[in-house]
């Protein structure tokens, strides 16, 4: 999953390649501190506009893919001993017998006006399905996000405190291992330890926030860890490298040290704080990575989120639901990239990531 979002931001923030329209491009770091200046607004507008063909492409690709799949909703629904006549009746009812272009145009013109349609399978409006499922997925995303950051920041700071020291080596080793573990394997291991053997955390299910706050957090802890731990390992390495670099080279660090400020104070007050800006942009870009993992992790923990709906809808050939979910995912990726760009421009005009390394 990482692959789709991972490499995306890869080159750009680092190289600041001219003419690159990928997210995080450093060139308009010079847009200035104030987000509300007109260049920033113009850029935002331009980026939003350029997102339109991307989103259109995504919906079209989805429709093509779903169309190419063998079988259709009628066959999936009626299953075993359906007669051709029964199948035909259902197909007529669901407009499955119309040509590809007609169906796509019908969907697209509806979507353009904000009507995402009704599920072919359940007849439920897609918006109400999303309304039911998205909160679970969003909550898991936010939780995972917080967890990975809360783990990564202190560990990275501790590791960077004495580069090459025991803490550093150990954390680098463990984080490399954590990075290499498949989330679904981690999920099973966590279940085995915390649910089956220790029985301290639930293995499956979701407790809504409205029902019990503690229950809610407990029910999401293992899934969030499964995705968040490898993610945290990745952040640890990233953040540690940046802090170390700052501690070694930045003038203000040298100045602060010369003034007799304790090293750990320099680290936390200056280096870590400065690294956070760049870190934030990476976090934003990583949202897309997170989404992919959800699709696999949600079913393992029987979470009633959007990932489960997506897999089910693909196998039911419910193109209307698949379109909506894919659109939401793509929108998140596009918006996260946009937000990252803005943050990047606003928070750190010095374009730290673009600077050739010392």
């Amino acid at each position: 999953m990482a692959a789709e979002a991972g490499p995306a931001p890869a080159g750009p923030p680092a190289q600041g390649v001219p003419g690159d329209h990928s997210p995080g491009t450093a060139q308009w770091g010079s847009a200035g501190r104030a987000v509300l200046t007109s260049p920033a607004l113009r850029v935002t507008g331009k980026r939003l506009l350029s997102a339109v063909p991307v989103l259109w492409g995504v919906t079209f690709l989805t429709f093509v893919v779903m169309n190419v799949l063998p079988g259709d909703t009628a066959q999936e629904l009626l299953g075993a001993n359906a007669t051709p006549a029964e199948l035909q009746t259902l197909r007529l009812k669901l407009h499955l017998n119309e040509p590809f272009w007609v169906r796509y145009w019908h969907w697209l013109s509806g979507a353009a006006q904000g009507h995402l349609g009704d599920s072919l399978v359940s007849g439920q409006p897609v918006t109400s399905i999303l309304g039911q499922r998205l909160p679970v997925t969003f909550e898991l995303m936010i939780y995972t996000f917080c967890l990975s950051v809360l783990i990564a920041v202190p560990v990275a700071a501790a590791a960077a405190y004495r580069p090459g020291g025991l803490v550093d080596r150990l954390s680098m080793m463990l984080s490399m291992a954590g990075l290499s573990i498949a989330p679904y394997v981690l999920a099973l291991l966590l279940v085995l330890i915390f649910a089956v053997n220790l029985r301290v955390l639930p293995a499956i299910g979701f407790v809504p926030l409205s029902q019990s706050v503690v229950g809610n957090i407990k029910s999401l802890t293992l899934p969030a860890l499964s995705i968040g731990l490898p993610l945290a390992c990745f952040y640890i390495r990233l953040l540690r490298a940046d802090i170390v670099e700052q501690m070694q080279s930045e003038d203000y660090v040298v100045t602060a040290r010369a003034k007799g400020v304790a090293p750990w104070q320099v680290l936390i007050r200056h280096a870590l704080r400065n690294s956070m800006f760049g870190f934030l942009t990476v976090l934003g870009l990583n949202l897309g990575t997170l989404i992919g993992a959800l699709v696999i992790i949600e079913p393992i923990f029987s979470l009633p989120g959007i990932g489960q709906v997506l897999l089910q809808s693909i196998s039911d050939r419910d193109v209307v639901v698949v379109e909506a979910v894919v659109l939401v995912f793509a929108l998140i990726v596009v918006l996260a990239n946009l937000l990252t760009d803005l943050l990047y421009a606003v928070l750190d005009p010095r374009i730290r990531y673009g600077r050739p390394s010392a």
Binding site: M1, A2, A3, E4, G6, P7, A8, A10, G11, P12, A14, Q15, V17, P18, G19, H21, S22, V54, G57, V58, L61, T62, V65, V68, L69, P70, M176, A177, S180, A182, P183, Y184, V185, L188, L192, V196, L231, F234, R237, L238, A241, D242, G278, V282, L285, N286, G288, L290, A293, V295, I296, I297, I314, S315, V326, F329, A330, V333, G354, S357
Partner: protein, 296 residues
């Protein structure tokens, strides 16, 4: 999956520059342990999977006798035990490893060649070619790739070849981006300018000047990416869309074992361990090569 990619993939610029002295010393040592150890582990795993069954008789990975079903590890004749239908687990690990390695290699190579060429050519020619390519890549990147992979695997039916197909949709755009960025970086360089001014043909410039400069980056990326691909192959198998059983792959062994995780955890733990060792070695090797070549 969640696959936080190794840091080079996301932000190569943040790479830690090793202290100059140490780097130089490491460069001089041909077989530094940070390269040797992961390379040796990989060689051991790959050798075990591809060569050992040829040299040393291993029971077939399928068609085991039900009379010897469910044996624990260290049983006579079955060092890692047998699965619930009596297949030797060691043999399944070895044959399953072949699948993981084959898929990982094939997908990475397809990405390297097709993606690398696409990215370099686009960046070199610029203009409309570049714009169109970038838009297509944008779409592919905004599209949840797992959806595509699931759809391809479901549409074409589960098989090793189709898994390679499906996963190449991840690797091609990823490599294309790296190659494009790497090529763009060369744009202002004097040797490029000199080559172009002296009337060298485009394909020659790409081959002689761009390729050697971009390749190290692509190779380190490929090593790290291969780990991701192997994990993804497992993910597809986990969803029942990978290599169809009873043929083994590490992914479907984990998936099958999940069904009885609390009763027989070894069925999950053994393939997970091999998966981890392989991916970890790939990551370590990629990381070490990156440092050595000074690739950002």
């Amino acid at each position: 999956m969640a696959a936080p990619l190794p840091d080079t993939l996301l932000a190569p610029g943040v790479a830690v520059p090793a202290p100059a002295g140490a780097a130089a010393r490491r460069r001089r040592r041909a077989l530094a342990p940070d390269i040797l150890i992961p390379a040796a582990i990989l060689a051991l795993i790959a050798g075990g999977c591809f060569l050992w069954p040829l040299v040393y008789p291993v029971p077939a990975p399928v068609g085991g006798s039900i009379l010897s079903a469910g044996l624990p590890p260290f049983s006579p004749g079955h060092i890692l035990g047998t699965d619930p239908v009596g297949n030797d687990i060691l043999s399944r690990i070895l044959y399953g490893g072949r699948v993981s390695i084959e898929v990982g290699l094939a997908v990475t190579l397809i990405g390297l060649v097709i993606g690398g060429v696409m990215g370099s050519v686009a960046a070199y020619s610029g203009g409309i070619v570049d714009t169109v390519l970038m838009r297509v890549l944008d779409v592919l990147i905004a599209f949840p790739a797992l959806v595509l992979a699931v759809a391809i695997a479901e549409g074409l039916g589960p098989s090793e070849l189709h898994v390679i197909w499906a996963l190449s949709f991840f690797s091609v755009p990823a490599f294309a981006r790296i190659a494009r960025a790497g090529t763009l970086r060369l744009h202002g360089q004097t040797f490029m300018l000199a080559a172009r001014l002296s009337g060298t043909k485009a394909w020659r410039i790409l081959l002689r000047h761009v390729t050697p400069n971009v390749l190290p980056q692509l190779i380190t990326f490929g090593l790290l990416g291969m780990g991701v691909i192997i994990i993804l192959e497992g993910a597809l198998s986990f969803l029942g869309l990978g290599i169809p059983d009873p043929a083994p792959s590490w992914g479907n062994m984990i998936a099958l074992g999940q069904g009885t995780l609390s009763a027989q955890p070894v069925l999950v733990l053994i393939p997970s361990l091999f998966l981890l060792a392989t991916v970890l070695s790939l990551n370590l090797l990629g990381d070490a090569l990156r440092k050595r070549w000074g690739v950002r």
